[in-house]
Structures are given as structure tokens and as C-alpha cells.
């Protein structure tokens, strides 16, 4: 195993990342960077976090061998079961870690952006546990589409602000949360939901989510005696994927796959495939790949899966793409829906539509995967939240 020097300069992944923010946001970001280097490395933080992850969130999550699908596919398919975590997705790994950090920094209020509502629910949950106030910014369109998650957040004691600016979706919720943070930085910490945004968020979120990949390495060795041949995860902003893939990066023989959401796949359709179809630019404090027009205006993204619906992507993914270490593929809406049904019927596991994109890539490329391979997919969340939406498209009888 060799070590890979990803980040010679803190906050940059190759040329990507950085901190493209108003000067008024520099002090809270520097304060957070100090806390990240100090508090997050302290034994007290680490022990508390480990205990919370185990006894409150339900770690470690199992790895399940899909025997029925494996027989059909000709290779072994394993799932990392982040769907079994408290609140139903990997988001809690990050939310609990950053909210604990906020508490130990002496902040009394956490804010978060949310698209589908999963990160909002996870942050509201962590804030309730630690007795902090919580405000969640959500695009007005998303708040309408994801009404049950708005109710969950409110039940957990959070204030939910429906953002009426711009396209009224996730990117506008992030803008509004950043603005709010500028004016409330003295008592408030922004709990960023994905491995994107200004430094140090991409690194903090990756480190908190890397528990997924670290556990997987240990469990695969225990269960199969070796590492898998393929590791696959879906990529929106990219937090579950970086958490799963990052610990595998030094193992050159393991093929790493990120799967972006391709939308309907019709020519000219809106999609969320920033790495495959975007180009470099600056949004939300980072230099990354973005969906944008020729004038540098950000385009609206689209996906059947609200959690992948974002016009940018975390900077470390762009870097891993640029050096060829991770292959970034695409799955379309219909392929994801088909994978959603197939896993439900053959294995009795209803996956989130986000995670269904990763499964769809595996099913689509099954013929190219050598027989006898081991394929590990990060099942980043459960699909209960998607039922109403997915069943518009899937006939049940």
C-alpha cells in the first residue's frame, strides 16, 4: 500500500477546492479550520463521536451479500448498509460529527441546507440530541416536494426556512445559509451537508464520512479474506461516495466508480452530471466542475433523485477524476428506477433512489465485470422516502 499525497496545500485537491467566499466569511471559516485541527483531533471529541456513532446512530453498519442477485449476475454483489443508520441514510455520520463540533466550540445554533431533506433531518436530529437551536434552509420547491421531511424537521424542533430566491432549490438554499452565517457567525456554525463548499468543509465532511470506507475495508477482509474488485457509489455533491472511496484510493488494484445522475437521458435534458458534462468554475466557495452556461451562469440541475440534484460536485471528486483514480459513470432516471425495483424484489431491500444509481451502473455494466469478481456498492440510504415519487413510474401489479 502506497500513500498518495492528495493535497499538498490544505483545502486544495490539485487545483480544485479553495475558499472563494466573501471576506466576511473568512473569520468563521478560519475559526472552523482551527476547531477542525484542534477539537476534532482531541481524544475527548473522538471518543464521544465513536460512542454516538455506535450507540445513537447504529454503527457499524453491516455488509450484506446479495446472494440472489449474485447468482443472476455471475459475480458477488455486496452492499454497505448505510440505509440501516438512524434517520435512514449516511447523512447522520456527518451531521452528528459537525454538530458535536459546534457544541464543543461553544456555539448555540446550527444551520444547514437541505435538498431532499435528509441532511436537514440529520442535522435537526443531532441538534435535538445536543440541545442546540437548529435552522434549516430549504428551497421552496423542495420544501413542497418533500413535505414529510419538513414535518420531521419541525417535529425535531428545527426551524425550516423555505427559500424563495433564484431557482428555489438546493443551490439557493446554500446561498441563503451562507448569507445567514455571515450575519450570525458569533453564535452559529454552518453544518455543511456534502463534501463540497469552501475549505475546510470538503475535508471535514470527507473525514467524517470516511468511516464508511474504513469499516468496509475491515469487513470485506473479514468476510471474504480480501478487498473487493470494484467499489461503487453514487455522486451528487459526493459525500457518501468520498466517504466510501477515499479509504480505498491507496489500493491501486481496487477499481473505484462514482455514478452521476444523468436525468432522463434525452438529448439536451437537464441532469446532474457535473463531472461528465460540466466544466470548471466557482460556486459556493469552491473551484470545481459545474453545470453552467457560456457566460458562467449556473444552470439548474435535474434528477429523479432529489439527493443527487445539484449543479456542482465536491472538489476531491474532480481531482480523483483528473488523475484517473476514480471512474465517473452515469445512470439515467429509468435505469435507477429499474434498479430500485430489482433490489426490492430480489433481496428485500428498498434502496434510496440516490443509491439506486450506483446499483444501476453495476447492472448496466454487468457483462463487463469479470465472473467471480467482488463488487461492493454503498447503499447510502433507504428508499422509504422515495416511495410516493417512485411509484408514479413503477407499476405494482
Amino acid at each position: 500500500m502506497k500513500t498518495l499525497e492528495h493535497t499538498p496545500r490544505p483545502g486544495y485537491f490539485g487545483p480544485y477546492g479553495g475558499r472563494y467566499v466573501p471576506e466576511t466569511l473568512m473569520p468563521p471559516l478560519l475559526e472552523l479550520e482551527n476547531a477542525y485541527e484542534g477539537i476534532m483531533n482531541s481524544p475527548q471529541y473522538r471518543e464521544t463521536l465513536d460512542e454516538l456513532l455506535r450507540d445513537y446512530c447504529g454503527r457499524r453498519t453491516p455488509i450484506t451479500l446479495c446472494d440472489n442477485l449474485s447468482r443472476e449476475l455471475g459475480f458477488r454483489l455486496f452492499l454497505k448498509r448505510e440505509d440501516l443508520l438512524h434517520t435512514g441514510a449516511h447523512k447522520i455520520n456527518n451531521a452528528i460529527g459537525q454538530t458535536l463540533l459546534a457544541k464543543m466550540m461553544g456555539k448555540t445554533h446550527v444551520i444547514a441546507e437541505t435538498g431532499a431533506g435528509q441532511h436537514g433531518v440529520a442535522t435537526a436530529t443531532a441538534a435535538a440530541k445536543f440541545g442546540l437551536r437548529c435552522t434549516v434552509f430549504m428551497g421552496a420547491k423542495d420544501a413542497e416536494r418533500q413535505a414529510p421531511n419538513v414535518q420531521r424537521m419541525k417535529l425535531l424542533g428545527a426551524r425550516v426556512i423555505a427559500v424563495q430566491n433564484g431557482s428555489c432549490t438546493l443551490k439557493d438554499a446554500i446561498n441563503e445559509a451562507l448569507r445567514y452565517w455571515i450575519s450570525h457567525q458569533h453564535d452559529t456554525l454552518y453544518v455543511f451537508g456534502t463534501a463540497a463548499g469552501p475549505h475546510p468543509f470538503p475535508t471535514i465532511v470527507r473525514n467524517l464520512q470516511s468511516v464508511i470506507g474504513r469499516e468496509s475495508i475491515e469487513q470485506m477482509k473479514q468476510q471474504t479474506g480480501k478487498l473487493p474488485d470494484y467499489v461503487v457509489a453514487c455522486v451528487g455533491g459526493g459525500s457518501n461516495a468520498i466517504g466510501m472511496l477515499h479509504p480505498f484510493v491507496p489500493y491501486d488494484h481496487v477499481k473505484l466508480i462514482g455514478v452521476e445522475a444523468g436525468g432522463t437521458g434525452e438529448p439536451g435534458c437537464e441532469h446532474s452530471a457535473a463531472i461528465n458534462l460540466g466544466k470548471p468554475g466557482v460556486l459556493h466557495g469552491e473551484l470545481t466542475y459545474l453545470l453552467q452556461d457560456e457566460d458562467g451562469q449556473i444552470l439548474e440541475s435535474s434528477s429523479i433523485s432529489a439527493g443527487l440534484d445539484y449543479p456542482g460536485v465536491g472538489p476531491e471528486h474532480v481531482y480523483l477524476h483528473s488523475i484517473g483514480r476514480v471512474h465517473y459513470g452515469i445512470a439515467y432516471d429509468a435505469e435507477a428506477l429499474s434498479a430500485f425495483s430489482r433490489l426490492s424484489r430480489t433481496e428485500g431491500i428498498i434502496p434510496a433512489l440516490e443509491s439506486s444509481h450506483a446499483l444501476a451502473w453495476v447492472f448496466k455494466h454487468a457483462a463487463d465485470i469479470p465472473a467471480g469478481s467482488d463488487v461492493l456498492v454503498n447503499l447510502s440510504g433507504r428508499g422509504d422516502k422515495d416511495l410516493a415519487h417512485a411509484l408514479h413510474y413503477i407499476p405494482l401489479d
Binding site: P22, T24, G166, R179, S183, D295, G296
Partner: protein, 270 residues
Amino acid sequence: MNNTDTYAPVPPASEPLKARIRRTQAGGRPALIPFITAGFPTPITFWDTLAELDASGVDIIELGIPFSDPVADGPVIEAKSRASLAAGTTLQWVIDGLRQRRGQYQAELVLMGYTNPFMQYGIGRLARDCEELGIRGIIVPDLPLEESVIFRPELDARGVSLITLIGPNTTEERMRQYARYTRDYVYIVSVLGTTGGINNHVERMADTIRAARRAFDVPLALGFGLREPGQLDALPADARPDAAVIGTALLEHIEAHKPIADFFAPWVQA
């Protein structure tokens, strides 16, 4: 400081924006720096509005280049920015319009916009256009010191200033880091918030201005939340800025179809 340490600032041949502010101050009042969103109120009426603004006796005009995700702006300017984008305003359109009207303005011109539209246009190309058209500076609210090396060399080569922006939470130590790279003037954001916010922290503001006086040797412009000259008079005598930036209040005034000269009358008399 990793980034900026790799780039040594080039001393400017001249600082026309600084000279303009000093000249106006010598006449007994702070310089006036209005902000107007390009393409506002509409792309058709914008150029007449700009001419009217120029004729009202202002010193430096900040032309706002609209962006889809203006994180430093409040609701008024974001709404203008969106309307302007929807009407088709682009950086190219602004540059083309200024090229047709080269030499027509009494005021100095600077562009204010976010990193991404400038980056996609190409910073080398933008710097050449600015030099050709007499645009003296650009202001980029999401480009702090550490990242600014991506723009500085090409702007410096063409004599275009990248205006330093600081806020009430900027330490004097950080101001001194900026000072080495700062030319023409410093733009001080008066509130911890977005454009158009309320400024009611006079003491804190005064402390920021005093610190900036010690750290910088160029004029200080105060903005974000300014509506009337009385707000400057409320500051202690040793903590008054050299120039006032006025954005949101002016756009609201123009939107109400009131003559621009009326807006600036109390400022010019002050």
C-alpha cells in the same frame, strides 16, 4: 497565504481611482461611488440611466455584472441581478456597450461581479478590454486574498486594480496582509450581512475604519447599507471614510422613477 506568496505585487504606474477620490475630497466632500446593476432597470433603458447617473456628479460608478448565485448580495440586488439576467444581460453585452460609448463618461468606471462570470470570460481577455475601455478596476466579492492570485497577474499587467474588500470582522493583521496588494481604494463593508442590510453599529464601524486607516495608505470607501449622508456624519470625526458606496437605496430610488440628481443632491451639498 500559500497562494499569494507565490505572486509578488507589481507597483502600479498610476492610481486613477485614488486620484479621483482625493480630488473630490479636496473639494470638501467625500467621493460618491454609486453601484448600479448592468441591464437595470431594463437593458434598453440602462444606458440612458447610466448617462443620467454619470451626469449627477458622482465620482466612480460600479457596474454590477449579474450572477445567478450572488451570495454577498441581499434580496434587492439579487432580484435586480436575476431580472437583468432574464433580460439577457451578459458581461460581453456590457463590454460591447461600453466600447460604443468610450470616452463619454465623466465618472471613472469599475466592474463589480462574482468570480465565475469573469473566469469564464477569461481574465486575460477581461484585463485587455478594461485597459482598452478605461475601466480602472474590478471588485470581486467572492475572491479573498488567498484566491486572488488567479486574477492578479493579468490585471496588474494591464494596470487594472483588484479593489480590496474588508468587513467589520476583518482583523487589523489581515488588513496588513491585504495592504501589500491593495491599490486605488479599499471598500469597507459596513455590516456583517449582505448588501442593503441595516447599519446600526456605529462604534464597531468606527473601530474598523480606524484600523483600516492604520493598515492602508489608500482612500477608504464605506458601503453596504448607506442611504443618506447623515449616516457618515454620525461617525466620529477621526473615523469617517473618504468615499461612500451607495447601491440598494439608489436602485430603489431609480425604480420609483425619481430623478437620480435628486438622490445625490444631499450628498453633493454635504
